[in-house]
Structures are given as C-alpha cells and as structure tokens.
C-alpha cells in the first residue's frame, strides 16, 4: 500500500475534452459506461471525479434539461496508449443520467477532470471499504488499487434490490447486504461495518454512498475512534472551485467539496446529512 499522501490529487488539463465512448453495458440496475480519454492523465486517484456531459443532445430534453455537466467518481481507469480508458457507473435517475446512460459506442463523452482529492490509504492499518448503491463506484477502483499493492481490504456493499446488487459482481471479493434480503444478508451495510469493526477495531474506513449511509458510517466510526474517509456528494456546477455551489459545513466552516473533497476526513464533519448532501 502506498504511503498516505498529503493530497492524492492528479491535476486535470485546464479545459473540456471529448472522450470516445467504447462500451456501455448493463450491470443490473446500473450502466457501466467506458470511454477512451486520449488527452487525459493516465493516473487519476481513487475517489477523484470527472464532470461529464454528452457531446450531442445535452439539453433540449424535458424542461430543456440537462444543462450543467454531472459529477461522477470514476470506477476504474486503464492505461490506453497515451491516455486512459475510464469506467463510470451510472443509474438513470434524471435527465442527465438518462442521457449519459444512453450513450453508445462511437458517441462523444465530454469531460473535465480528474478533479478533487481522492482517498489516502494508510500503510499500517487494514482498510475496510464501504459502498452503498451507486457509491460503490470509487470503492471499486480503491479495491483494485489496494489489492494490486498486496493489501487485503474488506469490502462491504449495500444495495436496495437484487438488480442493484448486481453491482457487486464488479468487485473481486465483497460482502453484500440488501434492503430486501434478495442478495447477501438482509441488513444495512452499516450493520456489516459494525460487526467488522468489532472484530478489527484498528481498521481505517473508506466509504461512499447515500448521505444517510455516510452519516451512519461517520457516527459509528466516531463512537469507536476509527478513522474514516468519506466520499461525499453535493450539488456542483463546475467541479473546480468556480461556482461555490458545493459547499459542505465542516469544522473549518464551509468548504468547497470539489476542491477540498470529495473525500473528507470524517472527523471534519458534525454530520454527513448536511443540507444539499447527495444532490
């Protein structure tokens, strides 16, 4: 495992570029969109994100949306020639994700990134990775990286249905909980986390998921004095500090999640259920 870095941030080129969609396949309730980013850096850090938009037909849909690009953590990155092939995990829940999820091979995916600060793994502590729903995406690339470095992280995933739990098939080894018990245990992923921390109180937790899950992870880790890094989400127009829209209340006041995050140390937060969380 790499030593913890002060700031795991790969810089983005200062402009939008068009990546070529090379695949778009269904993974249960999700789409896994792959695009070849010839002009981007080959080494985005787990937890960093890209601002995505379709090159064509972005806008003009229902209510003239979408208009703004959408922020997505990448789920995997593979070197491809001079550039990189990026995977994004999507669920169509609105006009932006519907359009992105409909992209076909050969179409253009506009992107700016990688942006933000990713996870910083610690050499001397076992990693427990927690993903909820679409939040599994950055957990996937973190699992890959930790295993490639010879570590054996515990991966705990929570989904709401069997169709969503198909997302777990992307992982090498993960324990799954579902709301309806259709796959894995009928439990909350934070129940699995509590059991895991009972067995291994010296772990570090890395989590991404919906705000209620992240808040449960934060509270659980705070009670046990377990360090945790949370990949958060907040309404974001630009991704590089221009719009000031994505602020999160922390012990240092409001911080722009796109610059200081999206991964924040959990002990900077009083709550992960801040207004605007998860947009």
């Amino acid at each position: 495992v790499k030593a913890a870095q002060a700031e795991p941030r790969t810089l983005a080129p200062p402009g939008r570029r068009t990546a070529a969609v090379v695949a778009n396949r269904s993974v249960g309730a999700y789409r896994l969109l792959s695009a070849r980013d010839a002009g981007g850096p080959p080494d985005p850090r787990p937890g960093q994100f890209y601002m995505l938009a379709a090159a064509e037909r972005w806008g003009g849909g229902e209510d003239e949306r979408p208009y703004l690009p959408r922020a997505f953590s990448f789920a995997r990155a593979r070197r491809a020639g001079e550039g990189v092939e990026l995977d994004f995990l999507l669920e169509a829940i609105g006009p932006g994700t519907e359009r992105l999820g409909s992209l076909e091979p050969g179409e253009g995916l506009q992107l700016v990134g990688p942006l933000g600060v990713g996870f910083a793994a610690h050499e001397d502590r076992r990693a427990v990775l927690v993903g909820g729903g679409i939040g599994a995406a950055p957990i996937l690339v973190l699992e890959d990286e930790l295993r490639a470095d010879g570590a054996e992280p515990t991966v705990l995933l929570g989904f709401r249905s069997a169709a969503h739990a198909q997302g777990a098939t992307l992982f090498e080894r993960a324990e799954v909980a579902t709301d309806d018990g259709s796959v894995g245990r009928q439990a909350l992923v934070t129940d699995l986390l509590a059991e895991r921390l009972d067995a291994d109180p010296d772990a570090t937790v890395f989590a991404c998921g919906p705000p209620p899950m992240l808040e449960a992870v934060r509270a659980l880790c705070a009670d046990r004095a377990v360090p945790a890094q949370l990949a958060l989400e907040s309404g974001m127009a630009c991704g590089f500090g221009a719009c000031f829209g994505c602020v999160v209340p922390t012990s240092d006041g409001y911080v722009r999640l796109c610059l200081e995050g999206p991964v924040l140390d959990a002990d900077r937060l009083d709550t992960a259920l801040f207004p605007g969380a998860g947009h």
Partner: protein, 306 residues
Amino acid sequence: MDLCGIELEGPVLNGSGTFDAIAARRAFGDALLEEFPFHGFVSKTITVEPREGNPPPRLWETPAGMINSIGLPNKGLEGFLATDLPELAELPVPLVVSVMGFSRHELATLVARVGEREEVAAIELNVSCPNVAEPAASVNEIAAAARSATSKKLYAKLSPASGDIAAVARVAAEAGVNGLSLVNTIRGLALDARTLAPILSTATGGLSGPALRPVALAAVYACVKATGLPIVGMGGVETGRHALELIAAGASACALGTVLFSDPAAPARIRVELAAEAEALGFDDPFDAHAVAHGDEAPVPLRHVA
C-alpha cells in the same frame, strides 16, 4: 484593445464570481496560467467583513440555465489584500476587483483601499447581487462615494431587474463611473418536485445561463444608447455568435460566466468563433460590428470618460 484606458489583448473577460483563478490553479496547476482563458480577470466580489456565504443548497439547474444563491463568500477586505491579491497579481492579464459595500462608508473604504494597489487595473461596483441584503444607498450615492475614493477606472455592474435600467445607467454615468458591466443575474425560484418547497436555502437565487441572454442583450442595447459608456456585456454567452450579438447591441467587451462551469477553456473557442462569425458577416474585426444593431442611431464613436 483599449477598454476605457485598460489595455486588453482581446475582448473576453469572466463575469465576477464565475471563475476562481486561485481555486482553478489548484485543480489545473500552472497549466492554467500558460494559456490563461481571459484577457482580463474580474475577482469575486469582496466586502469589508469576511462572509461565509449562504447555507447550501446554493444552486439548481433550471430550464436553459441555473439559479444560484452563493451570498458573496469572501475573506473580507483585509484577507483579500493579504492573501488573494498577491496570487491574483500573478495572473498574466489586467485585474479588475469587484466590491460591494453595505453602506456608503464601507464602499468608500473598499474602493480607497483596493484603488491604491497598483496591481488593480479597475474596480467593479457590484450594486446588483440578488442574493444578499441590498445596499442601503442608491446607485447614485454608491457611484459618487466610489468616485471620490479613487482615481481608478470604475465599472458599475447593474441588475436587469430594475424597471428602467437605462435610467440607472445614466445616473451611474453622471456620478462618474467609466463603464458598465451588464448584466448581473436576475432573481429566480425553483421548487422541489415532490414538496413544492423552495430548493435553495434562501428560496430565490440569481438566474444565469442561456435563459438570461435576451435580457442581457436588451440591457446593453438600452444602456449604450442612454450613456455611450463602454460596456462589458454578459449573460448566457456560449458561442462566438452570442458574443457578436452583444457587441452589435453595444458592448465593447464580453464576459463569460455559466458556460465556464461546463468548460473552463470555453473562452478560447468563443474567441475563434467570434472572429469567424464577424468575418462571415463582412466585418474585418468583430468590433467593427459595435452597436450596428442601432442602425443610423448608433452611438458611435464611444465616449471615453476620463
């Protein structure tokens, strides 16, 4: 080009509060400076006291644009001068500092302190933020207070929401501002799909993006006629064609805002498109199209107020 005495290498600026060059340098590194997107840089608005800004949620996508309620977060005058100004002074283009005072005294303090810094080419008076308590003074009083506090070039940024923006512009001109920035956002409201409650923490916010474009054109058209002042036009510009239309309505330069959120390198594209659009319509230089929308009543040549 010469924008009322400020030497610019081209016509594209940023709208105040739509691009944080210091933050962007963290995301993009020094590559940002190598091909800096703008010909002049306008700072986010500063106030005398530090402000944390409005609570989230602060923004929402709306038809053909977005609304925001950011609330002028900034380090305050002293924090700006000590921390931000030295970094902004490293930018390779002239610097305009946007200020907002809650009283004439505050405004005079801001303008005097910022105006004495040689790194600052001009000062923009933000008299039109839709997301903070309104300034206590009128545009006339604000412009006059600012004018007596500095000899630097002053721009007044006006709201298109006033009943008669040309009249406001005339008042600002008579009080001695050197130019106008048109337009700020216009107040808008978005409701939650399920609860029908306002989405933004402050209920209303400022509307920007393509939805604002015709409003901006109308404001530029009216104000250049009323004052003859140089105008930095802005509002929903996304292409060179949009920039050309602002120039035709009477703008001397244009500023980009919301489009930057999708593409921080949009200015370079828009510059190229602007030249091509102008040429296609028979103008050797885009600024040959200045105010042509006014036909025979075109307010040319520009009146450069010293």
